[in-house]
C-alpha cells in the first residue's frame, strides 16, 4: 500500500463540518438569507409590538381598576364646595374605599388650563374632582354608594372608568390580533419563499439527487441534507433579523424617561427573552418547510 493519507481539507463543508452533499440546496443562497432576515425582522417587531401593547394595556387596566373619580358640578361655587364635602364624608364612610381626596381648585384649574387659560376668575364655577382609591381586597357596593351620593350630593357623578377601560381593552386586543396576523402572514410568506427555494435547489441538484437515490439513499437522508442547509441558512437570516429588530427597539426605548416612544418598562428582560421566539420559529419553519418540500418532491420519483 502507500503512505497516502486523506486529511479531507479540500472537502466542502456544511454545518458542523460535514461535507455538504447538496452544495446548491439553497439555490437562492444569500438572497434567501436576506429574505429570512427581513421576515425575522418584521416578525420580531410585530411580536414586540404585541407584547408591548399587552403589557401597557395590563398596566393601564390595573391602574384604573382600583380607582373611581367623583365629579361635582354646579353653577354655584359654594354649592360645589358643600356637595364636595358631603360626598367626601359619604365616601370615607363607605366600606372598601381606601382613600378619597378632593383635588383643590388650583389643581383642577391646572387641568382646565389648556382650554380656558390661566387666571380663572373666582366666580367661575370650576367642577370639583374627588379621586378615590378602592381597597384591593374589599369590593365596594357601587350601587349603594351611588344611591347615598345622589342623596347627599345630587350634582355628583361617579365614574368608575369602565367605559374607558373597556374601550382600551378592545383597542389593545385588536392591536394584539393585528400583530399576530402580521406574524402569521410574515411566516406564511417566508414558508412560501422557502418552498420555491427548496424546489429550485432540488432542480439545480437533480443529478446529484439521482445519484444519491441510485446508490440507495433514503428520502429521509436526502431531505436531511437539504434541511441541514436550510437550517443554517434560516438560523443566520433569523438572527440577522433579530439583531436589526433589537437595535430598533433599543433605540426606541432608550434616551429618556422610559424611552422617547415606548412606555416606561415596556421592554423587560422577559420581553427580550420572549422575542427570541421569533427567530427560533423562523429557523424552525425554514427547516421544516424545506424538509416537507423535499420529501414531497422525492415521493414522485421511483
Amino acid at each position: 500500500m502507500t503512505d497516502a493519507v486523506y486529511d479531507g481539507e479540500d472537502a466542502p463543508r456544511g454545518g458542523f463540518g460535514q461535507p455538504a452533499l447538496l452544495p446548491e440546496a439553497g439555490a437562492a443562497g444569500a438572497p434567501l438569507t436576506a429574505v429570512v432576515a427581513v421576515m425575522g425582522f418584521l416578525a420580531t417587531l410585530a411580536l414586540a409590538g404585541a407584547l408591548i401593547v399587552a403589557g401597557a394595556a395590563a398596566q393601564w387596566t390595573a391602574d384604573l381598576t382600583g380607582a373611581l373619580t367623583v365629579q361635582v358640578t354646579n353653577g354655584d361655587p359654594d354649592e360645589i364646595s358643600r356637595q364636595t364635602e358631603a360626598a367626601l364624608r359619604i365616601l370615607n364612610e363607605t366600606p372598601g374605599v381606601a382613600k378619597a381626596e378632593a383635588r383643590d381648585r388650583a389643581a383642577t384649574a391646572a387641568l382646565l388650563e389648556p382650554w380656558l387659560g390661566s387666571n380663572l376668575p373666582d366666580t367661575l364655577p370650576v367642577p370639583s374632582l374627588i379621586e378615590v382609591d378602592l381597597a384591593p381586597d374589599a369590593a365596594a357596593d357601587m350601587a349603594l354608594l351611588r344611591t347615598r351620593l345622589s342623596a347627599a350630593a345630587p350634582d355628583a357623578s361617579v365614574d368608575d372608568h369602565k367605559v374607558w377601560n373597556n374601550k382600551l381593552l378592545k383597542f389593545s386586543t385588536a392591536l394584539q390580533w393585528t400583530a399576530a396576523a402580521v406574524v402569521v402572514l410574515v411566516f406564511a410568506a417566508m414558508a412560501a419563499t422557502v418552498v420555491f427555494a427548496a424546489r429550485a435547489g432540488l432542480a439545480a441538484n437533480h443529478e446529484i439527487v439521482d445519484v444519491l437515490h441510485l446508490i440507495g439513499a433514503e428520502d429521509q437522508f436526502i431531505a436531511a441534507q437539504v434541511q441541514r442547509h436550510f437550517f443554517f441558512l434560516g438560523l443566520k437570516g433569523a438572527f440577522i433579523g433579530l439583531a436589526g429588530a433589537a437595535a430598533i427597539l433599543y433605540a426606541l426605548s432608550s434616551g429618556g424617561q422610559g424611552g422617547y416612544f415606548l412606555p416606561a418598562g415596556a421592554l423587560t428582560p422577559q420581553t427580550w427573552a420572549t422575542l427570541l421566539i421569533a427567530p427560533a420559529a423562523a429557523c424552525l419553519l425554514t427547516t421544516l418547510t424545506a424538509r416537507a418540500t423535499v420529501l414531497k418532491a422525492l415521493s414522485s420519483r421511483l
Binding site: M1, T2, A4, V5, Y6, D7, G8, E9, D10, A11, P12, P19, A20, L21, P23, E207, I208, D210, V211, L212, H213, L214, I215, G216, A217, E218, F221, S299, R301, L302
Partner: protein
C-alpha cells in the same frame, strides 16, 4: 437468485419497445458480460436492474423480491445491495475522490472512522492514492472511471453492475480493474459487465448476454473458444 427477468418489456412513451420479452437470470456467484451494439438496449436493461425505472410489462425480481410493483420505500435497501459503475461515472463534482468513494458507506450509516482506512486502501489499489483529495473536474477520464469503480465496490455489494468499466483506462489498468471484479466475484458478489470490448469478453471467457434490437440471448463459452461471440445458447429461460 440475484436477478430474474421474466418476459420483461420496456417502452418509452409511444416508441417501439426498447426491450422485448427479456428473460434472464443472474445467480449468486455469477460473472456475466452483457454485449450488443449501440442502441440495443443495454443501458435500459441495466437501469431496470439498478431500479432506475420500472418495466412496462413482465416481472423482475431482485434478491428474491418482486420489484415490479414494490412500494418505492422498499427499494433503497435493495439498491444498496447493488454497486453500479455508470458509463458517465456520475461522480459528485463538489466532493473529493475520497468522499465520492465513501458515499455509499455514508448513506448506509457507517461511521466514518470505520471506513476511512478501507476507502483509502481501495483508492490506493486503483492507483489514486495520491489523488484522494482531488475533485472530479480535475481528474482525467480514466481517473474518474476508477473513482466510479471504487465507489461501486466499496460497500461490498451483492451485485456489481458496470457499464463499460474499462472504456477509459489503458489496457494495464483495464486488466487490473477486471481482476478486482474477479476478486469480488470470488468473494461472492455477482458481476454483470456491459461492454463493447470483444477482446475483454474473449479474454475472460465468461458467460454473456447478448442484446440485439431489444431482445436478449444468452451464451456460454467453450473452454477452447476464442471467437468474438459464442454460438450455443445455454441459459435456461433466455430469449
Amino acid at each position: 437468485m440475484i436477478v430474474q427477468f421474466n418476459q420483461v418489456g420496456l417502452r418509452y412513451d409511444d416508441q417501439p419497445e426498447t426491450l422485448s420479452d427479456v428473460s434472464m437470470t443472474v445467480r449468486e456467484g455469477d460473472f456475466r458480460f452483457l454485449t450488443g451494439p449501440s442502441g440495443a438496449g443495454k443501458t435500459s436493461l441495466l437501469r431496470l436492474i439498478y431500479l432506475a425505472q420500472r418495466p412496462t410489462r413482465g416481472l423482475i425480481t431482485l434478491f428474491g423480491r418482486d420489484v415490479t410493483a414494490a412500494p418505492r420505500g422498499e427499494l433503497p435497501p435493495l439498491r444498496r445491495r447493488v454497486g453500479v459503475v455508470f458509463q458517465d461515472f456520475r461522480l459528485l463534482d463538489h466532493l473529493t475522490a475520497f468522499e465520492n468513494v465513501a458515499l455509499p458507506l455514508k448513506i448506509a450509516g457507517v461511521n466514518p472512522k470505520r471506513y476511512r482506512e478501507d476507502v483509502m486502501e481501495l483508492l490506493t489499489w486503483v492507483g489514486l492514492g495520491d489523488r484522494m483529495e482531488a475533485k472530479p473536474p480535475t481528474l482525467s477520464g480514466g481517473e474518474k472511471q476508477r473513482v466510479a469503480i471504487a465507489r461501486a465496490v466499496v460497500a461490498k455489494p451483492d451485485l456489481i453492475i458496470a457499464d463499460e468499466p474499462t472504456g477509459n483506462v489503458d489496457p494495464e489498468m483495464g486488466a487490473r480493474i477486471m481482476r478486482l471484479f474477479l476478486e469480488l466475484n470470488k468473494l461472492g458478489a455477482a458481476v454483470l459487465i456491459a461492454t463493447h470490448d470483444h477482446g475483454l469478453v474473449q479474454r475472460f471467457k465468461k458467460p454473456l448476454f447478448r442484446l440485439q434490437s431489444g431482445r436478449l440471448s444468452a451464451h456460454v463459452p467453450k473452454p477452447q473458444e476464442r471467437a468474438p461471440f459464442y454460438p450455443r445458447a445455454a441459459e435456461g429461460g433466455a430469449a
